[in-house]
Symmetry: C2
Subunit: 434 residues, 2 copies
């Protein structure tokens, strides 16, 4: 039989898991440092929750199926609909604004390419119930803090900030009617992913005349916020809130990571305000994370309005970016002590020693099936154990075991009753004196 995972789905062997655990732990610690609480929702949701308001592309990519009672279910392609569902269901009990995060596996059936698989884990972090620009900045500051905690600087990555409101104001100034603006935005999001010719065609399909399309494409010439400000009315709230955002970013110590970028509009239909994406400085990889404000999603699902802002930060692109920079977790959770025997008959005594050490909190492996010095030390080396305690018939006769330091290869004979103390002293010396 084939021992492959389904196409586009990943296995995580222990060495991959060290990576993933390091990333997830960094995300979790960063979210907590910023006062966010963790939640989770089922990876399986009702299909209709996922297809509303998400935008067409994502809907085409949903893994959908029917359960044995004929329910239309699906593997979530994103977490935001589930988040809205959870908040709406307990709206009156939840402390607002809710600062929530999750690390959720999401599934999309799509053509595979660099940085894209059919599943990925996504750190989702949102603030629900606050509309002020401070909230947008708080979310972005958390994203930047995570990038920093992973070892990236403002020279390595940048958080590109756009605004749906600003682009909408520019489209209005160009004469694009309100009801065509979302369609145009969805097309503009494809820039860089398809050729400009295809883009022009897509605009035509969205009902935009050729000359207007050319002027719309001119929006991408805008290279600064001041530049953009000249193309919209002087009292544009979109410009004012962007200016405020950059001021707050200075105070929050994240300004060096932020850059205005008119071209960032995001591909999901539900965004309403500021949107952002993080990229590596050389733009070799896809977006590391992306998010923005979505103030009308609750309304559009038939609920009373509730403003919201958040982002998704996947585990695939960041690993490519970090590996390209040579950044990776330093070691993994190791084995403190490997306990072994020279003869299988001594396993009962070995298990007693292992049990004593574990009770004291040490990470202890048993070299099962690796009896005798040669196999034992080989096994201990491959598991990167720092110390070995072994029970050999000679020493056992006098009630002793042998403690070996795997780095110095020095050994000492220790009474069975003193093994815990000896290991503690040996490991403390090994760390403290290093």
């Amino acid at each position: 039989m084939s021992f492959q995972a389904p196409r586009g789905m990943r296995d995580f062997y222990p060495e991959d898991m060290i990576w993933r655990t390091w990333l997830f732990d960094t995300w979790t610690a960063t979210a907590r440092r910023h006062g966010f609480e963790q939640y989770d929702a089922p990876v399986v949701e009702h299909l209709d929750l996922l297809t509303r308001k998400a935008g067409e592309e994502i809907v085409d990519q949903i893994y959908a199926f029917e359960d044995k009672s004929g329910r239309q279910l699906a593997l979530r392609p994103e977490v935001t609909p589930s988040l809205v569902r959870l908040v709406a269901a307990r709206r009156t009990q939840i402390v607002l604004p809710a600062k929530w995060f999750t690390i959720a596996q999401c599934f999309r059936y799509e053509r595979m390419s660099k940085g894209r698989k059919r599943e990925h884990f996504q750190w989702n972090l949102d603030i629900i119930g606050a509309a002020d620009i401070t909230t947008d900045l708080e979310v972005m500051a958390t994203a930047v803090d995570a990038l920093r905690a992973l070892g990236l600087s403002a020279e390595d990555v940048s958080l590109r900030i756009g605004s749906r409101k600003l682009v909408a104001a520019m489209l209005t100034a160009l004469g694009v009617p309100d009801d065509q603006q979302l369609g145009v935005l969805m097309v503009l999001d494809k820039r860089g992913k398809v050729s400009d010719e295809v883009l022009a065609e897509m605009l035509r399909d969205a009902g935009i005349a050729a000359d207007l399309a050319a002027r719309i494409m001119g929006i991408f010439e805008v290279s600064s916020l001041d530049d953009a400000a000249r193309q919209v009315p002087a009292d544009s709230p979109a410009v004012a809130e962007l200016r405020q955002l950059f001021t707050l970013a200075e105070k929050a110590g994240v300004a060096s990571f932020l850059a205005f970028d008119i071209a960032v509009v995001r591909g999901l239909a539900y965004y309403t305000g500021i949107v952002f994406e993080a990229f590596d400085a050389r733009r070799q990889f896809r977006a590391i994370l992306g998010g923005g404000r979505y103030d009308r999603l609750f309304e559009s699902l038939g609920e009373p309005p509730l403003p919201a802002v958040g982002f998704g930060f996947g585990d695939v692109v960041i690993r490519e970016v970090l590996e390209a920079k040579g950044l990776s977790p330093q070691g993994g959770p190791g084995v403190d002590v490997c306990v072994g025997v020279f003869e299988a008959a001594n396993w009962p005594e070995a298990m007693e020693v292992a049990s004593d050490l574990r009770r004291e909190g040490f990470c202890v492996d048993l070299a099962l099936g690796a009896e005798g010095p040669k196999s034992l030390f080989k096994y201990a080396d491959r598991r990167a154990a720092r110390r070995v305690v072994f029970l050999a018939p000679e020493e056992l006769k006098s009630g002793s075991a042998v403690l070996r330091d795997m780095s110095t290869r020095s050994q000492e004979t220790v009474a069975l009753g003193d093994v815990v103390t000896a290991v503690r002293r040996s490991l403390a010396g090994g760390i403290g004196s290093a």
Copy 2:
């Protein structure tokens, strides 16, 4: 629209997540203390991997679907087939015996009842590549250690030990042919879940004559290992290895949790040796965990043989057991400091303070949208923040903020540049002197 999760699937609100995180952390720490490495496999697998050798009941309960290329996929109902797949695919590179664990969400479409949902998270822990009984005990000792770490004693729970080999020897002694024994074992696993009449019927359906069926039911009269030993040949290896297991359990300090139980046979087809299940002492709940030895699973999938033993420990029943005993995590990850303002205009300064505190590693929430003393303190209380730092216009004029201890309600005025130091001193005093 409906804001319900799909039937049988769970939402985890922050308060549920505190529970889940505590459980997962306990599982992970216990596995590491016993020298196990973490792995993970996709929640979606090829259907054919999951339907081989699993046993009929579980196959009926699989959530299966076809992807857009016509591949037959499914949500895993258990992790063991994926584990075998991962090990088989890299058999020559992996250090054997492999001591691996994962915490994996599994899905089964089944009638819902107490302790059963359509998804659950399962801690799976296995040793692959070692056949000795020490390996079985090492796996059981890890399970017992986890139960202890969750606050349960040998008075609360017991690990019931059975043996497929022993029951098979008894069936042979009763004259049940080899090729009918697995069918009989699968029926015996249903005891207690269906009435004895239904059980007798099921034995008949498995091709067992009524008088033999009655004698088979007599197996359950066996109340001790000595009792069982009298019904099989004196040199029975099944009895010898059980005796050895109980001796090792004494040495490993877990004997008080273990009890021989002839009725434990497990419902999955692939077990070959010792099997076990943990139950609460009063048997009010379903099995907390279950596992055993499965030495022929690799062979049956067309691979060279590789002995293996392991267990699955779900998150649903254990929560019921712990809640019935009043055991739960003490608090969750809290907020060290809540930073707020009396007037919205002071958010820039507040963000600077929050940024300084976070850089020092404190968990800091911003009381966004809760301007003014009343809303600020109310918000901080609901988030269980230990300290509040607030910026009020009066103090800001003199370059100061106010630090408030939320338990004592005492306040001090602190220069903005000294906030980090003051918070560190205040929190250290709060902990150190308590």
